[in-house]
């Protein structure tokens, strides 16, 4: 400390002021948000996957959240207060993320938490937050989260499949379905739901397979699919497994005759799969970056203007953080504050319009648009929008 004083005494008064400003700027780089205006800004924690398996989506999530905060502040903030985002890494182990969350709530006194991360972290964080502040969970997930104080914007398996399976079955005359996914709760829940919709649409399930995350060679599974005579594959593989499987699938010549439908195939995964291997590859999601609705065109233009054309590719997961903050704004304005009790009272029934259309909360989940896009050629082209699809959740 004394060295610092010696050095600073050597500067002129002006120089000392610049030094102080510089140090404040360096200290402040962990907090991203708008500059302080009138009253103290309200702090909102945003949990993003900077590291770990979902680290791929960290940059786009941060960007989307930052853009949302800036636009919300330009509109007047939430309940009259400007908001300031505080980011934390949600890619660590659940225990470590809980540690960050406790610090954010107790020390930084955040008024709300927006989380874009996996379910193991969500369960741990919900347990830790315990309705002290509103906790908004944004990405696609396996359904079933009914903990009090957790508001879920993410697509559920029912949402992604209830309208899509009958429509696609009809359009492409799909009869024999093969289900393949990684071995954990989201794929298993999704397949359980899918079986009902497939049966209702007149199809049968001719195979079901779950692969551990260590598997990197999918030849045996592809042989199984060939042997089963399936005309459709429902894919709930994630990340690298999804890329590896889809690439091998197409290279074995199956893509021309067998339709693929995935519920977590977003723009990055499609880029990894490659245009040549994406024939007849469909994806069902609440958001696609290439959707040419007026609202989304505005959003993507704003994103590019703010972060540049080389910025992290927009995708459903990153964009969900933007919607999470929009929801916070809508409910917070309705309630007049971010105080938990007031917020909770108005949450169900709150609606807003985002880049992917109209969204309305019911049962602490949302009714929202689901898009079915075709990835043939290497970019998603939206073939159908299903408006106002219910989440299928019945949380009281």
């Amino acid at each position: 400390m004394s060295d610092f004083i010696k050095i600073s005494k050597g500067f002129s008064k002006l120089g000392r002021r610049y030094l102080f400003v510089g140090m404040t700027a360096i200290a402040g780089t962990t907090m991203i948000g708008t500059p302080l205006l009138a009253a103290d800004p309200v702090k909102v924690a945003v949990l993003v996957p900077d590291s770990g398996a979902a680290g791929l989506f960290g940059p786009s999530t941060r960007n989307a959240a930052t853009l949302a905060a800036e636009q919300i502040n330009a509109r007047g903030g939430i309940a009259g207060s400007q908001i300031e985002l505080v980011f934390a890494d949600a890619g660590l182990s659940p225990a470590d993320v809980v540690g960050s969350v406790v610090r954010l709530v107790r020390q930084d006194k955040v008024s709300a938490i927006v989380g874009m991360h996996d379910s193991a972290v969500r369960v741990a964080v919900a347990n830790a937050v315990r309705q002290q502040v509103p906790y908004i969970y944004t990405p696609v997930y396996e359904g079933g989260e009914c903990a009090a104080g957790v508001y879920v914007l993410g697509e559920t398996p029912q949402q992604q499949l209830a309208t899509v399976i009958p429509w696609l079955s009809n359009k492409k005359d799909l009869k024999k379905w093969y289900l393949i996914g990684n071995d954990y709760n989201w794929p298993r829940n999704t397949n359980d739901q899918a079986k009902g919709y497939i049966a209702k649409a007149g199809g049968t399930v001719v195979g079901e397979e779950y692969l551990s995350f260590d598997v990197s060679n999918f030849d045996a599974s592809i042989r199984n699919i060939q042997a089963s005579g399936a005309d459709t594959v429902l894919i709930t593989l994630v990340g690298g497994a999804s890329v590896g499987f889809n690439v091998a699938f197409a290279q074995f010549g199956l893509a021309d005759d067998v339709v693929r439908l995935g519920t977590l195939i977003e723009e990055n995964t499609l880029a990894g799969i490659g245009a040549a291997n994406a024939m007849n590859l469909y994806s069902s999601s609440g958001y696609f970056a290439s959707n040419d609705s007026a609202a989304n065109k505005r959003f993507t233009a704003d994103y590019v203007a703010r972060f540049g054309a080389d910025a992290a590719q927009l995708n459903s997961l990153g964009e969900s953080a933007y919607e999470g903050l929009l929801f916070l704004e809508a409910a917070g304005n309705r309630a007049g504050s971010l105080d938990f009790a007031a917020f909770d009272k108005v949450a169900n029934g709150t609606s807003f319009n985002g880049p992917s259309g109209a969204v309305k909360m019911a049962n602490r989940h949302v009714n929202q648009s689901i898009y079915l896009a075709n990835g043939t050629g290497g970019t998603f082209s939206v073939e159908m929008e299903f408006k106002n699809v219910a989440s299928g959740e019945t949380c009281m």
Binding site: D214, G253, G274
Partner: protein
């Protein structure tokens, strides 16, 4: 049946290609190179770059080998050569290097997945009976690997450089006293190990997801192959890679890919427990026992 055979052979090919660099560097230099996977990643990204320029795939493979060799040169000259008699320290040092390399790759290329199209499209029919075919580019990679293996083996056995390398590995002190520049030879061996990793990444790139972190998966699978086969001899390596591919492939066909991986882990545990010098060690000791018995019989 034919399909099953070729599936297994592809697994063997992938294992051999990806583990060879580690086998060379650990077998000959006794260096536990934790950055081995990153050479493979560098190889894959080299093809990504060359692909963007429109040059043919073969150029990508060559560039992959050269870039990986150069990175290997820097690593060996800069860091590894100071730790040749300290195996645990090389493990730590190369782990640190792997962290740096992964971060560099992320800074240069970003985290997003990349894709590379194969040098030849389409499938080759395998037999006259069925329509089923096999991706043509994989057949080409298998052919390249067999050719490279034959040429490499002959060169190592017949050439003067191969003799120098063998001498350095066998008895470095004696080799140095005879005037061989063991330092340069060791650097060369390290570069060969690195280059083979790069070339493996390039050859396999049309079937991979390509992102900065894929190296870790290959590190693990390469270690498994070395543990099972035994370290220190090329035959041991071939044996190990072959066994790994066979076990994984066969069990995967019968009981699913997850169980294929489990079978590998079980095999590794058994080998480490009962045959610490690997399966090749087992074979060699059996052979020398047999020879001893023969000598005793002849009396």
């Amino acid at each position: 049946m034919f399909e099953a055979t070729i599936d297994v052979f592809w697994l063997i090919t992938v294992t051999m290609l990806t583990a060879f660099g580690l086998a060379v560097i650990f077998g000959m230099l006794k260096v536990m190179n934790m950055a081995h996977g990153e050479f493979i990643t560098i190889g894959a990204y080299s093809v990504v770059l060359i692909d963007q320029t429109g040059l043919p795939w073969a150029v990508g493979v060559a560039v992959a080998g050269i870039v990986a060799a150069l990175v290997g040169l820097c690593i060996e000259r800069g860091i590894v050569r100071h730790f040749y008699d300290r195996p645990f320290d090389t493990l730590l040092a190369t782990w640190g290097i792997s962290l740096v390399l992964r971060e560099l790759l992320e800074i240069i290329f970003g985290r997003g997945y990349r894709n590379v199209s194969p040098p030849i499209d389409g499938m080759m029919p395998l037999s006259f009976a069925s329509d089923a075919g096999y991706p043509a580019w994989r057949l080409m990679v298998m052919a390249i690997m067999i050719l490279a293996a034959i040429i490499g083996w002959l060169w190592y056995r017949r050439s003067r450089v191969g003799l120098l390398v063998a001498a350095t590995v066998e008895n470095p002190v004696l080799a140095r006293s005879l005037g061989m520049s063991t330092g340069k030879i060791k650097t060369g061996v390290f570069m060969v190990g690195a280059a083979s990793g790069g070339i493996a990444g390039a050859l396999l790139s049309p079937g991979l997801r390509i992102d900065p972190l894929i190296g870790l998966d290959y590190l693990i699978s390469s270690f498994l192959a070395l543990v099972i086969g035994g370290v220190g001899s090329i035959l041991g390596f071939v044996f190990g890679a072959g066994f790994v591919g066979l076990t994984n492939g066969a069990v995967a066909q019968l009981a699913g890919p997850t169980n294929g991986y489990v079978a590998l882990l079980v095999l590794a545990i058994i080998v480490m427990w009962r045959f610490p010098s690997g399966l090749i060690g087992l074979l060699q000791s059996r052979r020398s026992q047999f020879q001893l018995a023969k000598i005793n019989d002849d009396d």
